[in-house]
Symmetry: C2
Subunit: 309 residues, 2 copies
């Protein structure tokens, strides 16, 4: 299928443009009615690096590529708006439509319009998604850099499920109705929780793409503070104990859960708990880096999350 035909077919698979989109795909660029602050992130996933086509359907890849990008908007507390999608398709891959439909299955309920794209040929499947979210005031948004000594550290949801699912898929031992497998193939960006936590007064947020052990370090570094996290309080996803002898450490190191790690000043603790179900698992203190405490308070060393090559 020639590029132009494919682009038209993909346009056909998408909804008519929503209220914000003034000029839909098909022109040189998409035109969107803006709000005062644009929040934009771009992410690429590549076959063999961020996912395996051996274990992911094309629709899973589309979903995951968009989820990865939207998760960054969740971590800012932004309201999601538009996605722009660039596909590099190998010649033997097929037409990309199933992939775009998988993306649309996540976009639609999230209120996201896929407003533009590009489709080219290349040696390996890769999907780049640029997402733009919106805010009416700068104070509505939360960065990685606002954690202050005395703040509490919380996390949404449960961790380790995606990594457990990845292991099961790699072993060929996976059922698609397994929650761990589903978490790996179709992660859910925490958009609503992110906005609610921002409104509740969160001081810093980051999404857990590389794993708690890595992403907590990023947040600590950007904030110029130390995060102290109690391993015993890490919320472990159901079924992680079936794939690991040390489920808490596994959950703290595993990536791709796309939950939100959040820091909250003590005065905002109750508002944050009302905003989203949270597990409190640590505190912010003066210093640098991440300290993970074992059950007797001893530091646990050597925990590392994903480092995607």
């Amino acid at each position: 299928m020639a590029e132009l035909d494919l682009i038209r077919a993909i346009e056909g698979a998408l909804r008519p443009a929503g209220g914000r989109v003034v000029r839909p795909p098909g022109d040189d660029a998409a035109v969107v009615r803006a709000r005062p602050f644009a929040v934009t992130s771009i992410d690429t996933v590549v076959d063999g690096v961020h996912f395996e086509l051996a274990t992911h359907s094309a629709a899973d890849v589309g979903w995951k590529a968009l989820a990865t990008a939207l998760s960054d908007l969740a971590a800012m507390g932004a309201e999601p708006g538009e996605a722009y999608v660039a596909l590099v398709l190998p010649r033997d891959f097929g037409d990309g439509l199933e992939l775009v439909e998988g993306m649309e299955a996540l976009a639609r309920p999230a209120g996201v319009t896929i407003a533009g794209g590009d489709v080219v040929t290349g040696p390996a499947l890769s999907v780049t998604v640029a997402v733009t979210g919106w805010a009416d005031a700068e104070e509505q948004l939360v960065g990685r850099d606002g954690a202050r000594p005395g703040d509490l550290v919380g996390v949404t949801g449960e961790l380790g499920g995606s990594e457990a699912g990845r292991l099961l898929l790699a072993r060929g031992d996976a059922r698609l109705d397994d929650a761990r497998v589903r978490r790996h193939l179709r992660p859910e960006p925490r958009l609503r929780a992110g906005r609610a936590l921002a409104a509740a007064g969160a001081s810093a947020m980051i999404d857990l793409s590389d794993g708690l052990a890595t992403d907590a370090r990023h947040l600590a570094e950007r904030s110029g503070a130390r995060l102290r996290v109690r391993l015993a309080d890490v919320p472990v996803a159901a079924g992680v104990d079936a794939v690991s002898d040390d489920p808490a450490a596994f959950a703290a190191a595993g990536g791709d859960d796309y939950e939100l790690l959040v820091t909250v000043p003590p005065r905002a603790r109750e508002a944050a708990q009302r905003a989203a179900p949270l597990t409190w698992l640590g505190t912010v203190e003066a210093g640098a880096g991440l300290v993970v405490e074992g059950p007797e308070g001893q530091p646990v060393r050597g925990l590392r999350g994903y480092e995607h090559p």
Copy 2:
């Protein structure tokens, strides 16, 4: 170099964020002060498809990837704002810094801030650039769909130079100070001309990435009209006659010039000429598609521009 280190190194190569950028790279997403209309395009270039690393330096690739995306903003008449860059780097490629510096060499004079990015590993070099431009009113922007019977067809600059440069590079017969080669390696998006032509009352615009013969068809199709173009009036770049026996046809078919094809109502002809140096080469009439007229008015068939696979 680990991904995080590379991202930091690239951040170091970029300017401090400009006045519009509220949160620079390094957070989950970039935050930018918006204007009423956001104009966004995303484009990917892949080694071996859109450029050849055998003939392009990493800096050339960075420049070209950004130029390709910015050219879409030029064709809308938008004021360029921010770029978001996703790099897929082969393991043996090096650190990507030279590529980003090549991009920055174009971004800086164009007033574009590289405000975010992603760097991953993959089997072939590919560069995706999402660019956002801005406008204060919808009427400031020009689509592909506004050409009407009676409008004049004009084009900025001269055509065929990039394709001539590509041929010279492929033959190993190129000097880097040759204007044709430079046009191929470092195309200049016509941002100022695009804004000026929009303000002068252009009815439709498209940038010439795939070649006049292809892109004029796109404009005609989107406008629901026919474009009639006189081959004898196609402005041919200097030196095209050295690589082709039929320079006008060569210039009409060659891609990657990134000039603007524009349609203008007769009443706006003089304003358009004041806005940007134009060559008038045709008219819009009722009908569909593109008719290219030879020197005696006969239709010239079989002219096709690029069809990037």
